[in-house]
């Protein structure tokens, strides 16, 4: 009886008397007349086979890469050590939740060093690919492999973008024993889960500042591991992260904007009331599906979109950004907008360097270096700086608008909490009075509280 890896799956050959129900995840594949299981069930399949036929031939593992070289394990802060210990005590399968800037990468490197296994680190962006490669190269004594951004080098320790891992996992899924998944909240309900399903890695570590909600959280627990350690910004601010003040600036609408907003709100509210009366517990997705079915619903959705767009960058917000940039001329400021259009508007009007998806990576890097060196005092970004990029120290954030709720808020705030002696960060959150935006801005504050308070 032989177990082999085949395009993201495991096939069991020469097992004539096997009953599939003995082995979790195993099914008979009539197309090739073999038993087959998804690769991520490798551990469970091996355990079951070992119990049944201890002499089976595991031909999956020989396809792995050479042994990893040695590590210079990084020095950890107390909470990082606690996170690592929790992961190890959980059978090296779990997700660690730590705020932005608290050193998640360091925990992952310590985990890789302690496991001493062939490891594949999955990262969402090309910028992070470079960042992780550099951090690993500083402490790992062998060559660091890289998949993505034009590179295709497999080594015992390899970093890959999500996209490259997704495309290549049917071929490389048997080569790593440890998967490290950075920004793990991107997994759980999407297409990319396939990359995790097509890997045999029995040990897995997820890292995130903002775990997803159900049902993605349960799926993530299945594919990577449950949350084994969790701290929020509120737990670390003041010692390991910079202390901060969050100021919600309430702004008005111009008469023309108010008239437009109210008119569109009425169109939306009329359909919404009607819909909610029929189905009070319906989700937003249900609402959007129902709205697409009728002209009134379509009009309501269009009105809702117009209002959302209006609130993202009102006249008052544009003026407030100017005032705040002027007030903090001597500070390092990051301005966050909801979309690129607003970012370019601010960039052009106030001569602030934009960091968007349209700006090439090399130019972004140059701009971030200039910001780090003090040659640029401010940056404006829609989403690119939300997560993943190692943003140089800043002390003021102006959040003009956002569309992605608490997760985005936590990520943005985390960008400026890198601790420095005597630093107290200042975050301005612009919100429009007498609109739903103000309520959401107040709600988002709770996401920054310590974990126990947030849970309450």
């Amino acid at each position: 009886m032989r177990l082999l890896f085949d395009h993201g799956t495991l096939v069991l050959a020469e097992a004539p008397d096997l009953k599939a129900e003995r082995v979790p995840g195993l099914l008979w594949d009539p197309r090739v007349a073999l038993f087959r299981a998804p690769a991520w069930r490798y551990s469970a399949v091996c355990t079951a086979l070992r119990n049944w036929r201890p002499a089976f031939r595991d031909e999956v593992r020989p396809s792995l890469l050479p042994e990893p070289a040695s590590w210079a394990a990084p020095e950890l802060r107390p909470y990082q050590r606690a996170a690592l210990l929790s992961w190890e005590l959980s059978g090296r399968c779990g997700t660690i939740v730590l705020p932005t800037g608290s050193g998640k990468t360091k925990v992952a490197i310590a985990a890789m060093a302690s496991a001493g296994l062939r490891a594949l680190c999955l990262v969402p962006t090309r910028a992070l690919l470079e960042q992780w490669s550099a951090e690993l190269a500083a402490v790992y004594r062998g060559p660091v492999g890289c998949l993505g951004d034009g590179h295709r080098a497999l080594e015992a320790i390899t970093v890959s973008t999500f996209e490259s891992a997704y495309r290549l996992m049917p071929r490389i899924g048997a080569r790593f024993e440890l998967l490290v998944v950075d920004e793990a909240h991107h997994f759980g309900l999407g297409v990319r889960d396939e990359a995790l399903e097509m890997s045999i890695a029995p040990q897995r570590l997820g890292l995130t500042a903002t775990p997803p909600s159900e049902p993605a959280l349960s799926r993530l627990a299945e594919l990577v591991g449950p949350i084994v350690y969790q701290l929020a910004i509120g737990d670390l601010a003041g010692k390991w992260l910079s202390d901060f003040d969050l100021v919600t600036v309430q702004l008005g609408l111009s008469p023309a904007e108010r008239a437009s907003y109210d008119a569109d709100y009425r169109i939306f509210a009329r359909f919404n009331r009607h819909f909610r009366r029929a189905d009070p517990n319906a989700s937003w997705q249900d609402f959007a599906s129902a709205a697409a079915q009728s002209p009134e619903g379509s009009a309501a959705m269009s009105a809702w979109r117009r209002n959302r767009r209006l609130l993202q960058f009102t006249q008052a917000k544009a003026e407030a950004v100017g005032v705040l940039l002027g007030r903090h001329r001597e500070s390092k400021v990051i301005v966050f907008t909801a979309d690129n259009e607003a970012a370019y508007g601010i960039a052009r009007e106030h001569l602030v360097m934009p960091i968007t998806c349209d700006i090439s990576r090399a130019e972004r890097e140059a701009a971030l270096n200039a910001f780090r060196a003090g040659q640029l005092r401010s940056l404006v970004s829609a989403r690119v700086l939300n997560e993943g990029i190692d943003v140089p120290s800043a002390d003021v954030a102006i959040i003009v608008s956002g569309t992605r709720g608490e997760r985005e808020h936590v990520q943005r705030v985390g960008r400026i909490l890198r601790p420095l002696p005597g630093k107290r960060a200042l975050i301005y959150q612009l919100a429009t009075r007498a609109t739903s935006e103000l309520r959401r801005a107040i709600e988002r504050r709770h996401a920054l509280a310590p974990v126990r308070l947030a849970a309450r």
Binding site: L4, F5, D6, H7, G8, T9, G25, L27, D29, R31, V32, R36, P38, E59, P62, S63, L64, L65, Y166, R167, P170, R171, A174, R175, V191, E194, E197, M198, A292, R329, E341, Y344, A347, R348, E349, H350, L351, V352, M353, T356, D358, I359, S360, E363, A366, A367, A370, Q375, L376, R377, S378
Partner: protein, 392 residues
């Protein structure tokens, strides 16, 4: 590939059957208006075109179909405008100067513009000239008629549907070889059998390894990449089970030659590997004729589809077949060679891409296995078929 929301409104279900809302001749008048309108914006900013689309066309156009047509036109908004200063340099200089100065915007702009020897307005225009919104609309190609746009849109609908499939069954006649070669190349499990006589065509059952457990987007993409090759077959029928909603409920899609689907000519670039091999082999072996896509060989219950037949010009009884193998493992190749030998088929060369192995394994030591990396060595193939010792 259409986004899910757009795909969902581009079909309806009749029981379990998916009925695509194909573009039809009645759509051509508004498509013509759209193309004219698009052409009118030639040379103008992409952002202006996007703004124009917020207003309706002068003729009535179905909303979903309009969005599909626009998604096909979108890649044409690609030209970059000329800028007085390279935008990247303009940004680097202007934003650094603004950070270093307390002067008002106009003064900073004027000072930096002077350093580039351009006017402040030119510098302002150059600032974001390379970004998406500033790209210019390019005139649509002359061959892009309303009818062609409709056929391409239908192809986009079908490709998007098949991408949501786990398994497809294809009956094809004429040019089916490209289909099989491609299925093999993208790692699909493809079982081929003959439909009666050779002239009646073949039946292919194609699915990804993961199809046993659930729909996989990765192999859905691979299945969808068969469609442009399928529509080039002389005759075909396709049936697929697609997961159309967010649930696991499956619906069936049927497609046949004669359906109003574009031929996907632009989607079918000839593979560089074959092109180079053909050129190199003809040069290296003038005594051998290279025949593309020869007849299939019956092999047990299934068929083998060699990519080439190599026939000696002066001794036509000297014939070899050549197959370019997609994904492989050592076990797979050994088993294939063993079965070929058992079936009395010795005159076949297997060209194996060393970068596409599924497992870290060594190639079987068999004269008929020719490894390659970026291109197939015509000399190595010639050495095998001419019975000469291999140089490697």
């Amino acid at each position: 590939m259409l986004p899910y929301a757009l795909l969902r409104v581009s079909v309806h279900l009749e029981g379990e059957r998916i009925v695509p809302h194909y573009f039809a001749p009645r759509d051509e008048p508004w498509l013509s208006v759209l193309l004219d309108e698009f052409a009118r914006f030639t040379g103008r900013r992409r952002a202006e075109w996007v703004e124009r689309l917020r207003e309706p066309l002068p003729v009535r156009a179905p909303k979903a179909k309009l969005r599909i047509a626009l998604s096909l036109l979108e890649p044409l908004c690609r030209a970059r405008p000329a800028a007085a200063v390279p935008p990247k340099e303009a940004r680097a200089a202007l934003f650094r100067a603004a950070s270093a100065s307390h002067a008002p915007r106009g003064a900073v702009l004027a000072s930096v513009a002077a350093s580039f020897a351009v006017s402040p307005a030119e510098l302002d225009r150059a600032l974001f000239a390379d970004l998406a919104a500033e790209q210019r609309v390019v005139a649509p190609p002359v061959e892009l008629s309303a009818a062609r746009l409709a056929r391409d849109a239908n192809l986009a609908i079908v490709v998007s549907l098949v991408r949501r499939a786990s398994h497809v069954r294809i009956t094809a006649r004429g040019k089916e070889r490209a289909l099989i070669g491609h299925a093999r190349f993208v790692g699909l499990i493809c079982r081929a059998s003959r439909l009666g006589s050779a002239s009646e065509g073949i039946v292919l059952d194609v699915s990804g390894p993961f199809a046993l457990f659930r729909h996989s987007e990765l192999y859905g993409r691979a299945l969808a990449s068969l469609i442009p090759r399928l529509v080039n077959c002389d005759e075909f029928e396709l049936s697929a089970t697609c997961s159309l909603g967010r649930t696991s409920r499956l619906s069936s899609l049927s497609l046949r030659s004669g359906d109003p689907i574009g031929a996907g000519e632009h989607l079918l670039p000839e593979r560089r590997l074959e092109r180079k091999f053909e050129r190199d082999f003809r040069r290296a072996a003038p005594d051998w004729e290279l025949i593309r896509e020869p007849a299939a060989i019956s092999f047990g219950e299934t068929l083998i589809f060699p990519d080439y037949e190599l026939v000696h010009r002066h001794q036509p009884e000297r014939r070899w077949r050549l197959e370019i193998v997609g994904f492989w493992t050592a076990e797979y190749l050994l088993e294939k060679l063993r079965r070929l030998r058992a079936a009395g088929i010795d005159d076949i060369v297997l060209c194996v891409d060393q970068r596409r192995e599924c497992a870290e394994s060594t190639l079987p030591a068999d004269q008929r296995v020719v490894p390659y990396e970026t291109s197939i060595d015509a000399g190595a193939v010639l050495a095998v078929i001419a019975g000469e010792p291999r140089r490697d």
